[in-house]
């Protein structure tokens, strides 16, 4: 076995929690929480611009649909590292897992704001209410299970941090022994079965990432033909897979900047080589689809829809694909960050396009544009996510600081993440 120096293990990052940046984020998060409470107290009419014509708005298209897509870093890195065995990316696994876990958590929080009867959100779990022909049922169930799987996948990190070190303050100390025992039990269970959850996470992701693309197919008479295609689920899956690594890159570079760690440009550049291929695949399917459906004509009309489609496809797919296929761009942190941001923005724009721009109800009394409160809640949730992420990487061993230069040893990650059954 190669000797692994302790520096290559993930560890909690030391930093001041409050900086100028996090203070701004805290203010935005507080505003968002205030907006969220306002919605809960006074209802959707008071808080949003949703209408009889437009039942879905910013929260569904961005907080939920884009949120799920952007959390795809979790299952794509799991597939790359744990399933396909690309161990050299190992240090990217935990940050991606944490992003996915928080991403989905905030998807659910965002969804609860939008649901008229948020307190009934558990209803799809009751077998008596199962409605198998509903696309939304599948999305809902998959997201619920996947969220649980993500928490289970995160458990080894909690165990690593606290096993043998549980020390609750004051009277709670009587719980120390039982809690430690529980962690030990979880450790043994996960050592044996974690692999099953990792596989399940990838399958569940493929299922609901694609099903999100099926959702709007139930509205053939309201959808603009540029986005109304029977292969919409495939496009959603391919774009989610394509945005996974750019999200990991984006978030790794931002975290490095924020915690004043050296950027892992080399490793990220290597990861970024996959992206032009995945974007190219997505783009070709999009082009073939437009061709087969004879929908090219809708692009030249100069309508809002055609412009949005072009921005989404050229700015969010073609340009970053070309950029990331250039060695020069991949080599620089700035190039990576710019190109990754384009991919991310492209996917968000695609989801907004599918759920809002393409949706054109015949009888809507007025067009939809989100209210200030809707925007404040969305911005607040994103800010809160970043803050919680920062907090968790300061508590748990998630990030592997690159202060021991040289290639990461084969299998040099934390022992728990690689399931022992397969060793």
């Amino acid at each position: 076995m190669t000797v692994v120096t302790p520096a290559e293990f993930p560890r909690p990052l030391a930093a001041r929690f409050f900086t100028r940046g996090t203070l701004v984020l805290s203010a935005l998060a507080l505003l968002g929480i205030a907006g969220y409470l306002y919605r809960l107290l006074f209802g959707l009419r008071a808080a949003t611009h949703l209408s009889q014509g437009y039942p879905w708005g910013l929260w569904i298209s961005v907080d939920v649909a884009s949120g799920v897509a952007l959390a795809a870093g979790g299952f794509t890195t799991a597939a790359l590292i744990e399933i396909a065995g690309r161990q050299r990316y190992h240090r990217l696994l935990r940050p991606a897992l944490l992003t996915a876990m928080l991403g989905y958590t905030f998807v659910v929080i965002g969804l609860l704001a939008d649901l008229g009867r948020y307190y009934n959100v558990w209803h799809p779990m009751l077998p008596g209410m199962w409605q198998g022909s509903s696309v939304l049922f599948e999305v809902g169930i998959c997201v619920m299970i996947y969220l649980t799987v993500l928490y289970i996948e995160f458990m080894p990190i909690v165990i690593e941090r606290f096993r043998g070190r549980v020390a609750l303050p004051g009277a709670l100390h009587i719980l120390n022994r039982p809690l430690d025992g529980a962690l030990g039990l979880a450790d043994r269970f996960l050592g044996r079965f974690l692999v099953l959850f990792i596989l399940a996470g990838v399958v569940l992701s493929c299922l609901h990432q694609s099903s999100l693309g099926t959702l709007m197919l139930i509205a053939p008479y309201k959808m603009h033909p540029l986005w109304y295609t029977p292969i919409s689920p495939l496009l959603f899956l391919l774009s989610a897979i394509a945005v996974g690594f750019p999200m990991v890159i984006f978030e790794s570079l931002l975290a490095a900047r924020s915690f004043k760690l050296p950027a892992e440009t080399k490793l990220l550049a290597s990861l970024a080589r996959f992206t032009p291929i995945l974007l190219g695949l997505y783009l070709s399917v999009k082009i073939i689809d437009l061709t087969l459906r004879g929908a090219w004509g809708h692009l030249g009309t100069g309508s809002i829809e055609s412009v949005m489609y072009l921005i989404e496809t050229i700015g969010g797919v073609v340009v970053p694909m070309l950029l990331l296929s250039m060695h020069r761009v991949r080599r620089s942190a700035r190039g990576l960050l710019g190109a990754a941001s384009l991919v991310i923005a492209g996917v968000i724009l695609n989801r907004i396009n599918v759920f809002l721009v393409a949706y054109r109800p015949r009888f809507a009394a007025q067009p939809y544009f989100p209210s200030v409160l809707e925007i404040a809640v969305t911005v607040g949730l994103v800010s809160a996510l970043v803050l919680v992420y920062r907090l968790l990487v300061m508590i748990f061993p998630v990030v592997t600081p690159d202060d021991a230069p040289g290639p990461s040893a084969f299998g040099g990650g934390a022992p728990r993440v690689v399931p022992e059954t397969l060793r």
Binding site: A79, R117, S133, L199, P233, R423
Partner: protein, 307 residues
């Protein structure tokens, strides 16, 4: 390493192909196999409707919608600017005069069409909207989680939401007076009150026959098309009118039931859970393979070190 890259790309490809291929040869699901001929219906004859709004008033009273008095439903001028049903009015009747200011013309009452294969019921993830075997598409308030996917799905844009309520908001739409029709065997409130017999309640198949007789006996009165007979797979409410109903809010729709394509894709992905399980197994094999390779590489390194 080469194997690993190939297997990873293969995975992405298989996942995609599974979805794409299976979507093509799936069979329609349970929600698409609702009763085809049976159940109650209402035949609306727009040519005899005088837009008196009595149906609106009766509906308001029967469904306890608003506190508005009967007098509030006597102003017929409002019918001239097309209105839509909403959370406070399950039905509205609009007027389409032959010429501006003319008394002649026709009236079109709009409400839930009670589709034979309702998109809303297929969309609803908890089965809060369902098709009653006798015709009505009805709503179980207590099941609803308020996602409003039914509103996205409805091709007639009928379900409305009580956005103003912070607690217990409901999806609101015509109930086909389920409690009267099913429990008491009486016609819906709107049909019962209609003074001009513009509305006829009965078994849908009989209504279709009646409609064809009317079209045949008075061809000058009607466009030769029974709206709702085939639209989106058929609706319980059927319309005879002197003109195309698009301006009245009943646009041209194909005969294909709305839930068909989504349910096809759904049932393809979940056909006996075969595609997900296959993907799971495939990923498991790849994982096993890569880790076995790793183990042997580790062992080789160990041997080298020992030697």
């Amino acid at each position: 390493m080469g194997i690993n890259r190939r297997s990873f790309l293969k995975l992405a490809g298989t996942a995609a192909a599974t979805l794409a291929v299976d979507a093509a040869d799936a069979s329609p699901g349970p929600a698409s196999s609702a009763p085809s001929g049976g159940g109650y219906g209402v035949l609306v004859d727009a040519s005899v409707c005088i837009s008196c709004r009595k149906c609106e008033w009766a509906c308001n009273r029967q469904q306890h919608l608003t506190q508005k008095p009967q007098a509030a439903f006597e102003d017929r001028a409002v019918c001239l600017t097309p209105r839509r049903p909403d959370d406070a009015a399950f039905t509205v009747v609009n007027r389409f005069p032959d010429a501006p200011g003319s008394d002649k013309g026709y009236g079109v009452k709009i409400q839930c069409m009670h589709c034979l294969q309702p998109a809303c019921a297929s969309a609803c993830l908890v089965g809060a909207l369902r098709k009653h075997p006798q015709g009505p598409v009805y709503y179980d308030e207590w099941k609803c989680i308020g996602c409003r996917y039914c509103m996205v799905a409805c091709p007639f844009e009928i379900p409305a939401y009580e956005y103003a309520r912070a607690l217990e908001p409901r999806v609101r739409k015509c109930t086909f007076c389920l409690e009267r029709v099913i429990d008491e065997g009486k016609p819906p409130a709107c049909v019962e009150i209609c003074p001009n017999e513009a509305l006829t309640f009965g078994q849908r198949e009989n209504l279709i026959d009646a409609a064809y007789i009317r079209m045949k006996t008075a061809p000058e009165r009607y466009l030769q098309h029974l709206y709702g007979e085939h639209e989106v797979g058929g609706t319980a409410w059927l319309y005879l009118a002197p003109a195309d109903l698009t301006p009245a809010g009943l646009p041209a729709l194909s005969e294909k039931p709305i839930p068909q394509s989504t349910e096809k894709i759904q049932h393809a992905i979940f056909k006996g859970f075969v595609p997900p399980i296959a993907l799971y197994g495939l990923l498991g094999l790849v994982m096993y393979n890569t880790h076995r390779e790793r183990r042997s590489a580790d062992a080789a390194a160990e041997r080298e070190k020992d030697a």
